[in-house]
Symmetry: C2
Subunit: 662 residues, 2 copies
Amino acid sequence: MKTCQITFLPDNKKITVEKGITILEAAKGANVYISSVCGGDGICGKCRVILKKGQVTTEPTGLLDPEEIARGMVLACQGKVFEDVEIEIPPESRAEEGEILLDRDKRRPRKHSGWPETQSRKHSGLDIYSAVEELESSPKSFGIDEARLFTHSPLATKISLRLPPPNATDTVSDLARIYRELRKKASLPILQTGLANIKGLSRLLRENNWQVTAVLGKRNGTTELVLIEPGDTSGVNYGVAIDIGTTNVVAHLIDLVSEKTLGMMGTFNKQISYGDDIITRIIFASEKQGLEKLHQAVTENINNLIATLAREHRIKLADITAVMCAGNTTMMHLLFNIDPTYIRKEPYIPTADTLPVVRAAEVGIKINPRGLLACAPNVSSYVGGDVTAGLLASGMWEKEEMALYIDMGTNGEMVLGNKEWLACCACSVGPAFEGSGIKSGTRAIKGAIQRLQITPSDYTVRFSTIGNVPPRGICGSGLIELLTEMRKTGLINRAGKITPDLKTPCIRAGETNLEFVVVPADKSETGRDIMITQPDIDNLIRSKAAVFGGARTLLKKMGYTFKDVERFYIAGAFGNHLDIAKAIKIGLLPDLTPDKFQYIGNGSVAGATMILLSYGAMKNAQKIASKMTYLELSDDSTFHEEFISAMFLPHTDLSLFPSVRH
Amino acid sequence: MKTCQITFLPDNKKITVEKGITILEAAKGANVYISSVCGGDGICGKCRVILKKGQVTTEPTGLLDPEEIARGMVLACQGKVFEDVEIEIPPESRAEEGEILLDRDKRRPRKHSGWPETQSRKHSGLDIYSAVEELESSPKSFGIDEARLFTHSPLATKISLRLPPPNATDTVSDLARIYRELRKKASLPILQTGLANIKGLSRLLRENNWQVTAVLGKRNGTTELVLIEPGDTSGVNYGVAIDIGTTNVVAHLIDLVSEKTLGMMGTFNKQISYGDDIITRIIFASEKQGLEKLHQAVTENINNLIATLAREHRIKLADITAVMCAGNTTMMHLLFNIDPTYIRKEPYIPTADTLPVVRAAEVGIKINPRGLLACAPNVSSYVGGDVTAGLLASGMWEKEEMALYIDMGTNGEMVLGNKEWLACCACSVGPAFEGSGIKSGTRAIKGAIQRLQITPSDYTVRFSTIGNVPPRGICGSGLIELLTEMRKTGLINRAGKITPDLKTPCIRAGETNLEFVVVPADKSETGRDIMITQPDIDNLIRSKAAVFGGARTLLKKMGYTFKDVERFYIAGAFGNHLDIAKAIKIGLLPDLTPDKFQYIGNGSVAGATMILLSYGAMKNAQKIASKMTYLELSDDSTFHEEFISAMFLPHTDLSLFPSVRH
């Protein structure tokens, strides 16, 4: 017998496999989804499963503690099967649930806005907060008005054609007949097409009674006849807007006809297993096969997201004709398999800012084989298309008022300016706010603690989770609130150090440091304590110091202070909500009235959606990118001083935070 | 022993091969060139070789007569080798010589003309003719003046770039740096490039000290950065202009920098083995794998021509960046692997008239993998880019005088008009003038009889051959003269029938018909009689009747007669010379003074060369194509009457040929 049987619990799915296969591989075959960030390299430790019956062969790993191993836990990617076994997938390792960023069944409320749907305002369960209500995103509140709602011109448009059949007096060729009909409908001075569309065209037209649908694509000032489909398919056309972050990859499935967002989904960037930040990935890219591995990782991410979204919405991949990506410049290089080496070498030159519109298949993305892939234009090596897209979505680039745009990704970017000028800088924030590098950190997924309060008397924690389900971890917004509450209740001091002598079982000594238990194991969905350790807190403080220090430096260099800024746009992947007042209390944001702030969530994917839906938006994005002046902060002494000063809660200089001092 | 040795005579080249290989395959390996029109299918009978020692295994064939078989003759493509053998390649089967259309060592005399070099005027040997001197082609005599010599802008241009290296104040991306530099040199509003050029760009620039060469291509109103080469390669750039005829394929190798024609080469179209004319090929294309076979046949032709030209001129295929083709609409469909079915179905609609500029590799043509392939624009299903190109070269489309352009290809096309209007028609001429379908016919290659005179007293023939070497066969111009001389000396009557009762050994009974021996076997390079048979003559008369009848019909339909035509341009693959006076005598051309005629040889490849060298020429070709009105002659009663009337020598109506009557 060369095969054996695996039973996956709790779903009781059975699959017969060849001996020697890993549990992770087998699960894919059985359509059982197991979390895996590192893609099966045994690095991330996310694919823990429990062996219930039988034995598997596995290598020793430092990612499981002795108690877990005693419970039968193995890493699915490392465990090889040689006999019939029963495997339980614990909740924290289930990928299908974990992949969901936001409720997928919601629809975007307005046409033409290109703006993602927001989470509903009221949570039916525990709802202890209301102060942030005004921050919840809606197109109106971001100032997206009709003037920015460009005419319908998505990256790929379908046009139904009923051609007049040829006769003795109308003998133009088949291709010219299509061009002629298209030009009756639109001004298309330069119209191109590929040989693939011409080869079988004569039969296609005649077999479909001269009724076909042209898919037109926008490519650098020209129009491409991307595809000719039989019959009238003009009502069926989908696109995907994608934010490729250093830590997270988020995809929105867009109906290019109705302009509605049908679903959203996110996942950790698989490249994490090759390095946490941009610099380590660029170094890895220079190793043998390094670039190829990084490229493969992100295309796998994207293909998984698209395939899952398509399956859920019963859409054929062939009906997806366009993908619009936004991300930092390094992510775009890796997506396109372009050597990023010189991004980190002085004077920091990317290979390309504006990447050509290509066929998605050219970079390995699986949609319609002739479908297009485009990117939001990058500005420089360290200010990417995600910022361009976010600015586009914010609208600050076309307003009189001076605004500051802060994108708190793993790489943090700040843009200051208005419709006259734009100046920007970038600094390393780290992945803490995105739930990575924090022991109980998680992305903003269902079950993530996003809001919490600590009772001063007994240090117990009241919390709410995304989706109001039992907690699995803490996402960025929850971590910010946790820091604020710990400082308020004296669990940590101004330097962020955990107070050692408090009489509470919630504070305990970990292996090397103190740690604070937020949710005990018995109340957690994962069956493990949800906690925060001293190194976690140190990471978070470094992150917030980089954001605040970067913003202060940019203002200083341009001759302004926070008081001159009329509006703050905050973009990031913290969760659906960001409690501005609490973010001010830890010194992440400046001490100004909350009405000046707008939390816009993932500005990158919002802008990418707008560009996907409108060629006018693409032109505006190019305008924004060409307008932005980039200031280099590396080796900048002002930034270094500002960063160090911000390493306290809220800040070394308390006069900057009068409301917190009182 | 699994191998055996073959010795090729007379060169005494030896090669060790695996048993079972065909002689033709083995010859390729030994760099011994054997003629083969059908590509090894045992159909054309051109690859006869003589077995001198040893035995080969072969199938019975009707292409060799018993006497030939007795002499040891086998078809190289059918003979399989299982033991050591000696094989002699007789002169008529040698491909290297046979492939040569014209003297390759000549250079084009003038810059910018795009006009092929002509044969030198005087032949050192037998030179019995002088009447046709004025017809010899030179750019001036065709009216190609400075106004038509467009600025230098070949399909693919190389531009050497020495880029300023980036620094802290000049941080534009690598790609934008190249674009910036290019735009300093030329107005390039839409500039595009492919991912392949971007991927390794950063290293390419730095490793070559910012010195690179950009290959720019013209694609439908946009400019493509086709390729970026290290260092300065701007002095090395080649293109190929190709005429794809139904019977012949001719390629000119062009230096795109100096604009000189370096070499010319032609071959029979391999598609002949699937059918002699357009219609039979279209029918074959609809069979299983038919289209693919036809497509493969012509790309093999082209690849062989290009590879041979490149080898002879010590040019790397990678340095050939552009190919420009001209041919009839069906040939263009087959080259691009496009289904031609509806070209022959009413109302005769081609899939495309103007084909997109593609990468040559997309259709299987082997030059630089990123090099471009473009085509002269077609007019309709039966008037192709070869006519557009020929008209462009003739210059009649921009002159006041009314002219008639006649292309005597296998498909004959006639165009009437001037700079105000152009009307055209097409009819089937057959391949006789191109040396196909005639027993001793040959293409206009070295050794082809192109001029001759018959002595009335003894019917002996004096002749001259291309290259002044012993005769191998008779090309188009020789066949026309042969017909004239045979009529003049009474060897044939007005209906073209051979006079049976003449007292001469030159006329003899063949298998089924009378035949006239032009050169006896002992004086022929091939060792076989060079002759003309009654069916050959009938073919030639049908061909000339179609040309004359087609031209008369076109004139009649437009309300003109031959007398209204101020200039006649004659294009065709007859040879280097066409004796107009003799062509009039058999009624191929109308009875007008010879100074009205210009024989321009292969107008198609001449025009293709011009378009290859100049984007302005391409635009003019498009103008010509869009201006032409096509008249359909199939089922036209006027044409049918005219054709029948022209089936005599010179014509049924002798009043049309007063000079011949006298």
